[in-house]
């Protein structure tokens, strides 16, 4: 051990004398370069981690997420869509803003498949989300909710609203009622009321479970009162539109609000 220490001391002495020999300007320049590099790295990492700018499109399968994704990006849904097997993820400038002069910040949008078997993909993207758009099929709403044993919109929405990451980071949620161009589509007020009622029921049945409950879930709303979206800690809004016809202005406003241009 002592030999090592002695050796180290000798080396330190040698290094010192070598450094002393160099002209002072070079040392200052070298030190400055190193310091600047470190500062730049710290600044870059700080900036990257502070602002998540992903918008997550989620909802049951068949609600129209992929159509909306392509509407936002290209302004048309091309030749139609089928059930997605993988997520669509892209960073782009919104189609309606492509004509705008000046610098427009691109937005990273992820369309997560809605099929029940692919539900685990949602957990990959939620931590980085700046906003969640929950797409609901306004036409099919009542039938889907009533069926037993199906993973209905209400349950899916409840799962999203009670995830710890969503509540802690106060991720805003926009409930978008899609397919309002169809005649039999329900109004957004109706859907909002139904969702609140269903989530209220779900909340009560979950509360009836014993205390050693699912730890990832957060209790929603105020116990004793009927559930209301305004009781959530994160902001939840409801709006409507239609993916096929291009009526997606509500989504674009939402995106612009939370991802500053």
């Amino acid at each position: 051990m002592e030999e090592w220490i002695q050796q180290a001391q000798v080396w330190a002495g040698q290094a010192e004398s070598w450094v002393r020999q160099q002209p002072p300007e070079q040392i200052y320049v070298a030190a400055a370069v190193v310091a600047i590099t470190i500062l730049v790295l710290i600044a870059a990492s700080c900036l990257k981690s502070s602002k998540p700018n992903t918008i997550v499109l989620s909802g049951l399968n068949g609600s129209g997420k992929t159509t909306l994704f392509y509407q936002l990006r290209d302004g048309s849904s091309h030749q139609g869509t089928v059930t997605s097997m993988e997520e669509n993820s892209d960073t782009f400038v919104l189609h309606s803003e492509q004509e705008r002069k000046g610098k427009v910040k691109p937005v990273h949008v992820v369309d997560v498949p809605g099929h029940a078997r692919l539900k685990t993909k949602l957990d990959e993207f939620l931590p980085r989300a700046a906003g969640v758009i929950f797409v609901v099929d306004a036409q099919d709403f009542c039938r889907a909710c009533k069926q037993l044993q199906t993973l209905s919109s209400c349950r899916y929405l409840y799962d999203i609203l009670t995830k710890a990451t969503v509540v802690k980071k106060r991720v805003p949620v926009l409930i978008f009622c899609n397919k309002t161009d169809k005649v039999t589509a329900h109004s957004k007020e109706f859907i909002r009321k139904q969702l609140e009622k269903e989530i209220n029921k779900l909340r009560e049945s979950r509360n009836a479970l014993s205390s050693a409950d699912i730890s990832d879930e957060v209790k929603l709303g105020v116990p004793g009162e009927a559930f209301n979206f305004s009781q959530c800690q994160n902001k939840v809004t409801v709006s409507e539109g239609a993916g096929l016809t291009g009526n997606v202005s509500a989504i674009e406003e939402f995106i612009r609000e939370y991802v500053k241009a």
Binding site: G80, M85, E87, K119, Q149
Partner: protein, 617 residues
């Protein structure tokens, strides 16, 4: 005639559709969505074809670009050129594909060309085979005879389509010259899959495994045996009722009944049984398993980093250069190793085989990223596939469903079915205990009227849990007992009815008929198949036969199939958890409960991530 050829991305955008381009009629229903939901997402992508309504579908992938090519045609037509066409289309399209482009109108002409070429090739093949047939009549005579007989019967049954007659001749030639080149391989297996009702030829020497085939073979082998048992049973049952005890001496016999049923009003040993309501604490259903998930995350982070081991020099070199396109031959050793590993974990052999083929189909042609080895890619793909299969397709929240049924004013009925000795009655009691802990009123229905002691067993459980039980003793029709039990429960405003049935082997025709009668008559909310985790390859057979019988013998068009699985004796297997995977894969039903012990609290939920981890360890 080909109805439609669709090209779409894995993310769901349709790139080109032959219907729209060539102006054909749109498809009825949505067979493509049905294909994705019930086949591709269920890891059955290695199947030869898929049929829905009148349509048959075939598909192929281009894994590197993330494209799927699907061809749809009428099920009754046996088109031979479809696989050929799909391969040609895939090659051509991948050359013009560009991720930025969304419009591929120019592909229409190319497609028309390819279509004509493929049809021409098929015609030539057919003609050449027919020539060979005429030159070799004697060898194929016997084969032809049996298959023509079958085909002839079928064609008369379906109305004698002219095309069918022509295709029948084609089929015979296919059957006879089975070793004649690759082109016959796919169409014949497709024919077998589609023409299931024909009772197709048994000389199947295809490599790909066909579960329907296995089922048919097993049916043929075992059909005679249970039929005998069944008839014997039927004949002996009435006999015992008419038999009189033989009297040897002149002494009169006591004429004791041989039914030792303990009548309900005999409270001889009541003091012993009448403890306070059994409260063994919380059922393990409500406890969440957090232990495994933490270590899970750490492991995942490590895996996403640098690969752990160093491989051989050449594979290392290739993996660094990153230009390696995965071929089937490259995947074989890794897949074989995975398959063996799965089988050591007690996954049924056919299931492991099908899974490996499906993973191969999804990885073939993909470009390896740099610094990744083949085995790690295969491992990740397999892990994703397993998670996808084990994630339930429908909600397994029974409490919520009970609430909805309660609102409608009728009880929620759960029927427990399964083979002998898997633990139906024990786990029924556990489920009752769990439901009681959530303040729901439960009624038991003793529809096992066959096994000695079954009614007493349930009566004991009911007494300990202090819940009502509906029983009618032995030798009664279980369907009628169940019906009356549900009516009684509705009258008493009970929330849940748990129906216990007798264990039965899946080949036992009359018992399976009785079971489907019970289910059809009472239309329960949940049909729970109870299977033990110790079962090996038999799990596949059990579930397929149960589902098949329930579907065949149902009187309504939408038959009730198995809705959920209850996995029992989970504590007896250490890490050989493969039975869960086999059962879920073959039936598509989620595992709702897992029984892990013999006391009331030993019931828990299935933790998908930990099962996947254990399977791939």
């Amino acid at each position: 005639m080909l109805e439609e050829l669709l090209i779409f991305t894995r993310g769901g955008l349709i790139l080109w559709s032959s219907c729209r381009a060539l102006g054909g009629a749109a498809l009825k229903g949505s067979p493509i969505d049905a294909l994705i939901r019930s086949c591709l997402l269920e890891e059955r992508s290695a199947d030869a074809s898929f049929s829905q309504d009148n349509y048959a579908l075939k598909w192929t992938f281009h894994n590197d670009l993330g494209l799927v090519f699907v061809a749809v045609y009428q099920r009754m037509l046996h088109l031979l050129y479809v696989d050929d066409l799909l391969a040609a289309v895939r090659k051509e399209f991948s050359q013009i594909y560009d991720p930025k482009r969304k419009d591929y109108h120019d592909f229409t002409d190319v497609f028309r060309q390819l279509h004509l070429e493929a049809e021409a090739r098929a015609e030539i093949m057919k003609k050449s085979k027919q020539q060979l047939i005429t030159s070799r009549p004697s060898q194929n005579l016997s084969n032809n005879k049996t298959s023509t007989k079958v085909r002839g019967a079928d064609s008369t049954a379906t109305g004698g389509n002219k095309k069918k007659g022509a295709s029948a001749a084609k089929d015979d030639s296919d059957c006879a010259d089975s070793d004649k080149g690759q082109e016959n391989y796919q169409p014949r297996s497709a024919l077998l899959v589609k023409g299931k009702e024909n009772g197709g030829p048994k000389d199947n020497n295809n490599g790909a495994f066909d579960v329907n085939k296995l089922q048919k073979l097993r049916n043929n082998k075992k059909k005679t045996v249970p039929a005998e048992i069944g008839t014997k049973k039927n004949t002996t049952k009435p006999d015992t009722k008419k038999k009189v005890n033989r009297v040897w001496d002149d002494k009169p016999t006591d004429n004791k009944k041989l039914d030792f049923t303990d009548p309900a009003d005999k409270r001889g040993d009541d003091e012993v049984i009448d403890h306070a309501l059994v409260n063994q604490g919380e059922s393990m259903m409500d406890k969440d398993e957090n232990v495994s998930s933490d270590s899970e995350d750490e492991e995942e982070e490590q895996v996403q980093g640098v690969p752990k081991k160093k491989g051989w020099f050449s594979s290392m070199f290739q993996s660094i250069s990153g230009n390696n396109v995965l071929e089937k031959s490259d995947l074989q050793p890794a897949l074989k190793a995975l398959k063996d590993r799965l089988m050591t974990k007690n996954v049924a052999e056919e299931i492991a085989e099908k899974l490996c083929e499906s993973v191969a189909a999804s990885l073939e042609g993909k470009k390896l990223g740099s610094f990744t080895r083949i085995s790690s890619t295969v491992q990740t793909a397999m892990e994703e596939a397993l998670v996808r299969i084990l994630t339930p397709r429908r909600s397994i929240d029974i409490l919520r469903d009970v609430q909805s049924a309660k609102e409608r004013g009728r009880p929620y009925v759960i029927v427990f079915v399964g083979v002998n000795g898997v633990g139906k009655s024990t786990n029924l009691a556990k489920v009752a205990y769990w439901l009681l802990q959530h303040n729901l009123s439960v009624t038991l229905a003793a529809c096992d009227t066959f096994r000695s002691g079954a009614v007493e067993q349930l009566r004991t459980h009911a007494r300990r849990l202090k819940i009502p039980i509906f029983e009618k003793g032995y030798e009664k029709d279980p369907a009628v007992v169940a019906k009356e039990a549900i009516q009684e429960a509705a009258r008493n405003k009970s929330d849940v009815v748990l129906v216990d049935t007798a264990g039965r082997m899946q080949d036992n025709e009359p018992l399976m008929r009785a079971l489907s009668k019970l289910i059809n008559l009472n239309n329960p909310d949940l049909v729970l198949f109870v299977g033990e985790a110790l079962v090996g390859n038999d799990a596949v057979d059990q579930l397929t036969k149960f589902n098949q019988k329930l579907a065949d013998l149902s009187s309504v068009p939408t038959a009730r199939l198995i809705d959920g699985i209850l996995l029992t004796k989970f504590d007896t297997i250490d890490d050989k958890v493969g039975a869960a995977l086999s059962m879920v894969y073959i039936s598509g039903a989620p595992v709702m409960f897992v029984g892990c012990g013999q006391s009331y609290t030993d019931l828990k939920k299935l933790n998908v991530k930990s099962i996947v981890k254990t399977l791939l360890k």
